[in-house]
Symmetry: C2
C-alpha cells in the first residue's frame, strides 16, 4: 500500500503535509510518497525521525495555488497534482491525498484518471458527526446543477462507501429534501425520489426523504443532494459550530459564577471539540474517478493529513470502485436516463 | 392597531395562542382579535385577567390541521385562516398571525389578500441570530424552484423589511452562493447575480455573494436564496444548535470534574439559549402579499406568539408594502424579465 501525498497543497504546505506524512508512516506504518519540491520537502523531513523506508519523494517543479482556476491548473503539467495523480494512473501507487485547491484536485484527478464506468458525474463527499455516529453527505460542491440520475448515482456511490470503507452494515440512504413525504420537494428531488424508489426495488437501501435536521440526527448514514445545497450545508455547519462555541464562551465570561466554574469544564469542552472536529475524520473522498482520491481541508493540521492518509489507504483496500461499477450497472441507470 | 391571531394554529392551540394574546395585550397594549372556536377561546381566556377592551373574539367554525394539504385547506371557507385573513382584506384589522400549517397559511393569505403589485412570488423569511446581531434570510420554503428574477425580488423585499421593520440603517444584501466570486454558482445564482448587480446601479445595497458560513457571520443583514436551500439551511441550523448543546451536555456529564462545575454554568447557558432562541424574534414574515402576515413556528410557546404579535404590529406600522411596491417598480423588473 502506497499513498501519494501532495506536499504542496494546503494553507501551510509543505510544512503540514510533511508532518502529517511522518505521523502516518510512524503511527500506521503506511508508505507515503511525497510529491512536490524536493529540496523543500527534504528540508522539512530533516526535522523528524521516522522509518526512512516508509517515505519516498517524487519531485514536481510546479505548484497549483489555492485560488487558481481549475482551467489554468489543468495546463500546469508539472504540478504536484498532475505528477501525483499520474503515479496512480501508472499503478505506481494506490491512493492520492491533497489538501490543495479543491476545484483543481477534482479537475486534474478527473482528467488524469478518468471516470468509473457508468458514472456520469464524480462527487465530493464529506463525513459529518451525528448524535449516534456519523453521516456521509454528498455531493458537497463538485456538481452545482444536477439531474435526477446524478443524485441516484451519488446514492449508489455513497452507499458503497459507507458499506465498504466506513464498515456500516446496512447503511440507510436518504434524499435531502424539504419534507418527509414523497410528493415534497423541487423538480429535481421529486424526480430523483422516483429513481431512488425504483432502485430500492433492485437492492438500494433507500429509506426516504431526509430534512435539513436529519444531517445531524443520525437517522441516515448517507444523504444525497446537489452540490450547491451540500456546499451551503457544509459551510453553514462548520461556521455554526464555531459561532455557537464563541457565543457560549462570551456568556461564560460575562457571568462571574460561570467564569469560576469554567475551568472544570475544560475536559468536557476538549471531548466536545474532538467529537465535532473534522480533523478526526481525515478528508473528503472524491467518488466516481478510477482511483482513490481524498481531498483534505485547505486548513488541515498534521492530524487531519495523517487521518486523510489513513482513509485513503482504507479506500484503496476496500475495492470500493469495483463495487460502485457493479451497482451502477445494476441499478444506476434506470428509467431510460 | 389591531392584530388578528389565529387561535386554532400551532401544536398547542388554542391554549398557547390565547396565552400569547393575553401577554401581548398586557405587555404591549396591542389589540388582538382571536379567531377560532368561540367557546374554546372563552374557556382559555377565563384563566387570565387582562384589559378586556384589548381582546376581541371572532368565531370560526372550522380548523385547518397542521398536516392538511394547502389545496384542501383552501376549500375550508369557514376556517380560522380564511376568516382571519378576510378581516384584513375588509380593513377590519391591520395584521395577521398564525402558528398553523405554513403551506396553508401561505396559500390562504395569497388567495384572500392577493400579491403586491409587481411581485411575482411571495416569500417566507426568517430572522437568524448572528455574531453581531441578526440576519434576515429569505426564501425559506415558499418557492422551491426559483427564477433569477424571484431572487432579485426577494432581495428588494428583504432589504425593505430590514430597513423599515428591523430598523437597520443601510442593510447589506447578499446572494447565498458557493463562492465569493461573481462567476461562482449554479445557473440560478449566476443569473441572479447579474440582476442584483444591475439593481445595485439603481440603489439596491447588494454587496455580493454570501457563503453558507455567512448566514451566521453577521457580514450581511439580508441573504436571499431559493426556498429549497433556505429551508434546508433553516432546519439544519435549528437541529445543529440543539445537537451541539446535547453533545456538550453528554460530555459534561461524562467528566466528573466538569459535572461538579456544571451548576455554575447555568446562568451562561440560560443567556446562550436566549440568544439563539427563535422565540425571541417572533415569527417569520410572509412578504409580497397585500397585508402583513406573520407565520409563527408550529411549536411556538406563548412568548413566541406574543413576540409574533408585536412583530406583526411593527410590520403594519411600517408602510413596508408601499416601500416594496415602489422598489419593485424602480428596480425589481430588470433586463426584460
Amino acid at each position: 500500500m502506497k499513498v501519494v501525498l501532495d506536499a504542496m497543497g494546503g494553507d501551510n504546505a509543505p510544512h503540514v503535509p510533511v508532518m502529517g506524512a511522518v505521523q502516518a508512516a510512524k503511527e500506521f506504518g503506511i508508505k507515503v510518497i511525497l510529491v512536490g519540491d524536493e529540496s523543500q520537502i527534504k528540508k522539512e523531513l530533516s526535522k523528524y525521525s521516522f522509518p526512512i523506508e516508509k517515505i519516498e519523494i517524487v519531485h514536481a517543479d510546479d505548484v497549483v495555488s489555492m485560488d487558481e482556476l481549475p482551467s489554468k491548473a489543468l495546463k500546469k503539467k508539472n504540478s504536484s497534482l498532475h505528477i501525483g495523480t499520474k503515479l496512480l494512473k501508472d499503478k505506481l501507487a494506490d491512493a492520492f491525498v491533497s489538501a490543495g485547491n479543491t476545484g483543481a484536485v477534482m479537475a486534474i484527478s478527473l482528467f488524469t484518471l478518468g471516470r468509473l464506468k457508468g458514472v456520469e458525474r464524480p462527487a465530493i463527499s464529506t463525513i459529518l458527526p451525528s448524535l449516534s455516529g456519523k453521516t456521509f453527505l454528498l455531493d458537497v460542491g463538485a456538481n452545482v446543477d444536477c439531474k435526477p440520475v446524478h443524485l441516484l448515482q451519488f446514492a449508489i456511490m455513497g452507499e458503497a462507501y459507507a458499506k465498504y470503507v466506513l464498515k456500516e452494515e446496512n447503511p440507510k440512504v436518504g434524499l435531502l429534501n424539504i419534507g418527509e413525504e414523497e410528493v415534497k420537494g423541487n423538480d429535481l428531488t421529486k424526480e430523483a425520489y422516483k429513481l431512488l424508489k425504483a432502485a430500492r426495488e433492485k437492492g438500494l437501501n433507500f429509506i426516504g426523504n431526509a430534512e435539513g435536521r436529519d444531517i445531524y440526527s443520525g437517522k441516515f448514514d448517507v444523504i444525497v443532494c446537489d452540490g450547491f445545497v451540500g456546499n451551503v450545508a457544509l459551510k453553514l455547519s462548520e461556521s455554526l459550530a464555531k459561532i455557537l462555541a464563541k457565543i457560549l464562551k462570551e456568556e461564560i465570561e460575562s457571568h462571574f459564577i460561570s467564569k469560576l466554574g469554567a475551568i472544570t469544564l475544560k475536559p468536557a469542552i476538549k471531548s466536545f471539540k474532538k467529537r465535532i472536529d473534522y480533523a478526526e475524520w481525515g478528508g473528503a473522498p472524491l467518488l466516481g474517478v478510477k482511483a482513490p482520491v481524498i481531498i483534505a481541508h485547505g486548513s488541515s493540521n498534521a492530524k487531519a493529513i495523517k487521518n486523510a492518509v489513513k482513509v485513503a489507504s482504507q479506500f484503496a483496500e476496500s475495492y470500493l470502485n469495483e463495487h460502485i461499477e457493479k451497482n451502477i450497472e445494476r441499478y444506476g441507470k434506470l428509467n431510460g436516463y
